[in-house]
Amino acid sequence: MSTLHLINRSPFAASALQELVSAVSEGDHVLLIEDGVYAALGTAASKWPEGVEIRALREDCVSRGIAPASTLLETIDVAGFVALTASTDRTVSWF
């Protein structure tokens, strides 16, 4: 039983990411989408709890000029996004 957390807000402008971090359980997954992918920039890297997988949506990184290679996070495409929603039990959106 695990949860996929989607976050679409910039970590610099909104507190949604901090709230998300306090609401994850071990084994959960986090996917950064839309302006949420700015959390893949160096300074935004939060102290993620242990045992949580963080990824960023590749298409949203590319349009914003955040090269996947330069991020500390794994990126996935929309097919990977779909697969995550299927392999987890529920999805929570943070906005």
């Binding site: 298409e59 929603t85 999805t91």
Partner: protein, 135 residues
């Protein structure tokens, strides 16, 4: 596991053209069939109801969101449900609401349907996943 396709409900809460939410929802929904899944219900709530505006007329070099929703309805046979209380307040009325309130013509047309929040709860119970796309 997951050898069988899943059915999805999407809740879309973001307005078209000002927020990425509609685009993200469509991108996600259009990617479901390749993995054997399908979107069964899209529920438009909050400013997401504006996605159903029948006279939406974007410039030709921009995506036409209304047409993409219609195409999704055709391709995956999904319902396009619009919260009636949110829509009527904002000026989106189907044929019935138009008559009821004495307005001259509808601003929301099939395949979009005005429905209550009960349909959102039903979709949450019936389908395998609910994914929210918010502004």
């Amino acid at each position: 596991m997951a050898s069988q396709g899943l059915t999805y409900a999407l809740m879309v809460q973001g307005a078209p053209y000002s927020q990425q939410a509609s685009h993200s929802a469509l991108r996600f929904a259009e990617a479901l069939p390749a993995q054997g899944h399908r979107v069964a219900t899209v529920f438009f709530y909050h400013d997401g109801v504006y996605n159903a505006a029948s006279m939406m007329t974007p410039p030709t070099d921009e995506p036409h969101l209304l047409e993409r929703w219609r195409a999704l309805h055709q391709t995956q046979q999904c319902e396009l449900l619009v919260c009636v209380a949110s829509a009527v307040r904002r000026g989106l009325l189907d044929h019935g609401e138009t008559k009821r309130h004495g307005h001259p013509h509808p601003t929301l047309e099939a395949p979009f349907e005005l429905t209550g929040l009960g349909q959102l709860m039903q979709a949450a119970h019936h389908h395998d996943r609910l994914i929210t796309f918010a502004p």
